[in-house]
């Protein structure tokens, strides 16, 4: 054990870090339900700012939920078979492909959005539709889905399982459906929650890809920070917290579970 003095110092640092992260969050929640933030909490508690946010920004909330759902479907359709393909076909080519699709984790969203705009910006119909934002979200979240499933598949003896099924006459498709998918479930769940959480919170790409008629929740947040009174901005942030914090907790739980299984 370290000496108690060192321990107290560690505790102080830990608590200060917690305070630094938590205090502004609490301030924001309070400001969202205070009648007049400048006068303080004595001006009374109210839900009127939340109602205002609903009037002003309900569209952005629904668009974000819809995009997250569509993004989840796309990453499942592309990512699940891809993870299986990568797991069954290990080698430098698969490593390279995995590395390449992971680029959006490393390259700032701003740069990716510029690249998409350079190539597809002139296709007006595509540029102005919600599918353009969807492409950005899929690009950004796909590596999480693929890696999450790949980690679970990589930990089990897929080849032996499949050979067993194959000798019993199962076709590749049957083996995929009856062996791979059920076994990959923890990875799929963790990946799905990560995709939804990240999609709802995505700003860097979306800010460049959105149009004035298509605002997502984080885009609306940026908009309210720049042009609305502090109480409305805070109430909007509160709505975002209510949406994202349970998702984040579910995501952490599912990821820890998938990691345990992968070991």
């Amino acid at each position: 054990m370290l000496s108690s003095k060192t321990k107290i110092l560690q505790l102080i640092v830990t608590l200060s870090a917690c305070a630094f992260l938590l205090v502004p969050t609490i301030l924001s929640v309070m400001a969202g339900v205070t009648a007049n933030y400048f006068k303080g909490i004595s001006s009374g508690l109210t839900l009127k700012w939340i109602y205002r946010v609903w009037e002003l920004y309900a569209d952005s909330i629904f668009l974000s939920l819809w995009l997250a759902f569509a993004c989840l479907i796309c990453t499942l359709i592309i990512g699940l078979p891809a993870a299986y393909g990568l797991a069954r076909n290990p080698g430098w080519l698969s490593r390279l492909l995995e590395e390449f699709i992971s680029l959006p984790l490393a390259v700032p969203g701003l740069a990716l959005a510029l690249a998409l705009l350079q190539l597809y910006g002139s296709m007006k119909g595509f540029r102005a539709s919600w599918t353009f934002i969807l492409v950005g979200h899929v690009l950004y979240t796909l590596p999480f889905m693929v890696r999450s499933i790949l980690a679970v598949l990589g930990a089990m003896d897929l080849k032996t399982l499949e050979e067993g099924a194959a000798t019993l006459g199962a076709s590749p498709w049957q083996r995929f459906r009856d062996i791979v998918v059920p076994n990959a479930m923890p990875g799929i769940l963790a990946g799905a929650l990560t995709v939804v959480t990240l999609s709802i919170g995505e700003f860097n790409l979306t800010w460049m890809l959105h149009t004035p008629y298509l605002k997502t929740l984080p885009v609306g947040l940026a908009d309210s920070y720049a042009s609305m009174r502090l109480e409305i901005a805070s109430a909007y942030t509160l709505v975002f917290f209510v949406l994202i914090v349970p998702l984040l907790m579910a995501m952490q739980w599912a990821s820890a579970r998938a990691q345990r299984i992968a070991k």
Partner: protein, 267 residues
């Protein structure tokens, strides 16, 4: 359908998607960077023109400060949480990882609530302290989203450290300071370098936080944004994006080879 064809068919959607929306756009972005008046010399302009060079230096400095501050705070807190079991530990851990899912804009807003014109510090201090829109505000914003990322990586490594090594060092008469410097830090080094690289790369590329806070100062992502939208200097925006992308990509490659963790560089 044979096995081989089935596996190839499984990879096909991924190949098509990443070719159409990742490979080709990046090639286009690279070509666009050379299409300005300066041609390919535009990459030299980044170093030659004071506006870009100064911005690059400021971005690197703020990111470095963030990295070291996050490493110091998160390693201390991480070691404490790994080595001690007590009531409320889970709550502390939840609070410290909460910001993982906050977009950069929200982090920026939280810093405004701390240090903006209507912020907490301004209300508590007599002589109107507003720091949200300065380099300090940006630093605190970056620190806010770096703490959880570094913490998770360091804690994963600290779980694997063998406490008996520290015990041995202490029985042989090492001071707590020497135990930290000679036993704990070397053991954590790979994860410290990895999480440091992640924090640095994230801070370099952070757009959302800079978007809300950097109204008076310039950092690279903001310059890319203004070059593209206000000046319509697409070649420079593309060139800066390429340079920034290569820097953050290499850093995260180093991080991953050392710790194998997947952390998004959003912010």
């Amino acid at each position: 359908m044979s096995n081989r064809t089935f596996i190839m068919a499984c990879l096909a959607p991924l190949l098509v998607f990443s070719l159409a929306f990742l490979a080709l756009p990046l090639v286009r972005l690279f070509l666009a960077s050379g299409e300005g008046d300066a041609g390919w010399a535009i990459y030299l302009d980044i170093l030659r023109k004071p506006r870009y060079l100064n911005t690059l230096i400021l971005t690197v400095l703020v990111s470095l400060a963030t990295t070291f501050a996050a490493l110091a705070v998160s390693t201390t807190a991480g070691m404490f949480l790994v080595r001690n079991r007590f009531r409320g530990r889970g709550t502390l851990l939840s609070v410290l990882t909460l910001p993982l899912a906050f977009p950069g804009v929200v982090v920026g807003f939280l810093i405004i609530l701390l240090g903006g014109r209507q912020g907490l510090v301004n209300q508590l201090t007599p002589n109107h302290v507003v720091f949200a829109y300065s380099a300090l505000g940006l630093f605190l914003g970056y620190l806010y989203f770096s703490i959880p990322r570094v913490l998770l990586t360091v804690m994963a490594a600290a779980e694997k450290l063998d406490p008996s090594l520290e015990e041995a060092a202490r029985t042989m008469g090492a001071s707590p300071y020497r135990v930290v410097v000679d036993v704990i830090l070397p053991g954590l080094m790979p994860s410290l370098i990895a999480s440091g690289a992640i924090a640095f790369a994230t801070a370099m590329g952070a757009f959302g936080t800079a978007f809300t806070l950097a109204t008076d100062i310039d950092v690279i992502p903001m310059v890319i944004y203004t070059e593209f939208t206000l000046s319509a200097n697409i070649a420079m925006a593309a060139a800066l994006s390429i340079v920034l992308g290569i820097i953050t990509w290499i850093l995260l490659l180093i991080a991953r080879s050392l710790s194998g963790s997947t952390v998004a560089a959003g912010g």
